[in-house]
Symmetry: C2
Subunit: 298 residues, 2 copies
């Protein structure tokens, strides 16, 4: 438990260019900006060091991966320590020859690398060829006890799975953070764009409600890939919409769909206990009756 009564959360909604070094520089600029604005915990979008390379299946993209700890985490650790802020970052991890993960790291305000979360649920869809690149995580669901708040980190596709949110919340998480790279196919946006975005926000708000925790999603913005709208290779328009939900599903702050920005929210620790007292779902779980959750289909 933390003595602090609140923490300020900043989500860095940003676009990502071709040059990884420039993306990292931009992210660090935004982290410094967020710190000046009073943020305690600062979160970057999924795989922010590069464009979303999973749009294509190309072995050359494995060159983008890096070891953890490594140069990026070392640089972010220095920044975190210098600013006295917590940083949540998402990286393409080279764990060993042929073993790559979509990994999030949590760096405490003293610069310590508290640990890794390796994305557990891996998508594979047109323009999201993640099963090609990422070995499924083997660390399970995790929380990280930072100076300001106990954080659970999950990544993008994880957000569609209530099990991940529940298992992380049961470890005492007070905040779930989802670094994300999700967007519209240009040829789908007109027909399905609104309901895709709504479903994405709705299911994450539901994790806040079901578990009585703060939930934050931090997404990138901007179009990446070819602009050809007639084929599957029309690229992706990342939809931004980064947001923070309180433990009862109320969205406190929300980013635009098309601009880089900091999405900042003050989070009140007292709400965690207050909401769970008034809506005591965790009291009533039927843990005797959930065994079949481990089955594929019944």
């Amino acid at each position: 438990m933390h003595d602090r009564q609140s923490f300020a959360l900043a989500l860095v909604q940003m676009s990502c260019g071709i040059d990884p070094a420039a993306n990292l520089d931009k992210a660090i600029d935004r982290i410094e900006e967020a710190a000046k604005a009073g943020a305690d915990v600062i979160c970057l979008p999924e795989l922010f060091r590069s464009q979303y390379f999973c749009q294509r299946v190309d072995p050359a993209n494995f060159e983008l991966a890096e070891s953890i700890p490594g140069r990026t985490t070392e640089r972010l650790q220095k920044i975190a320590k210098g600013l006295g802020k917590v940083i949540v970052a998402s990286l393409f991890e080279r764990r060993g020859p042929g073993i790559y993960h979509n990994t999030a790291v949590v760096i405490d305000a003293d610069g310590a690398l508290l640990g890794l979360y390796r994305k557990m649920h891996i998508p594979e869809d047109p323009l999201y060829f993640e099963k090609y690149y990422f070995t499924p995580g083997d660390l399970g669901f995790k929380t990280f006890d930072t100076r300001f708040v106990r954080i659970g980190v999950l990544v993008c596709w994880d957000q569609w799975f209530p099990e991940g949110a529940r298992l992380t919340a049961l470890q005492g998480a007070q905040l779930l953070v989802y670094p994300t790279a999700i967007g519209w196919h240009p040829r789908e946006k007109a027909e399905f764009g609104v309901s895709q975005h709504q479903a994405w926000e709705t299911i994450q708000r539901s994790h806040a409600i079901a578990n009585g925790v703060y939930v934050a999603a931090v997404n990138r913005v901007g179009h990446e890939g070819p602009a050809d709208e007639e084929s599957f290779i029309g690229g992706l328009e990342f939809w931004g919409g980064s947001f923070v939900s309180d433990p009862f599903g109320n969205v406190h702050s929300r980013g635009s769909h098309d601009r880089e920005e900091l999405v900042v929210s003050q989070c009140d620790m007292a709400k965690l206990d207050e909401i769970r007292r008034n809506w005591p779902f965790l009291r009533d779980r039927r843990i005797d009756a959930y065994g079949d959750i481990g089955k594929r289909y019944a």
Copy 2:
């Protein structure tokens, strides 16, 4: 699997008076009305035969319970057979001396009582003293293969637990129905009413999204209990808002907060497969990593 390409769902949003016989007569009138309107599956709110007696702890209320099968199910079975419609009804079940359940029944279009679901998650809160009345269900999560659609039934408080929805969907449910009795405390409504209702709808839409199934909630309307707004015994204003969500969380139809009405929706079977193909969450569940769902807290 069903050959039918769609089914019409009707939710009977109704108020409940003091006289159980009158409530049953009203429910049957509404069922007949729904059948005339073309409904295939007709659902009644939680414990529709009486007012929501759980507002008070009073042993006399056990007199409201009835055996299943019993007089109410027999009458509903005749109606179902006569109309050729499926009925989902919620009853206060007397199973044996001192063993009472909050039970839902599914009656097929040929009048067969397909089975029972006994509410698994039991609330206990000011004005919702259900742990006093209801023994927790011991039948687990269930589905019922009706003439028109494979239905999973859960009851009210169950709707806050993603595990119940998931376990029911994994049994092949195409539609989840939640008979409900939820309302505002008059003294809370101004401050919390909107977010309470929003959270309730959001988490149920999330079950549709996570599982790729239709979800319906059928609630009662009207104020029951004393009108004293200054105390906990101010009664409850049941908030209606019965709704049907498609398998991607889009609300197709929604009842008012204050009127009796039929909420009718045409549900397209093709959407079930179409949405699960485009958002293949069930493909990617990490069934190797969910074991701790059976723990209380980690």
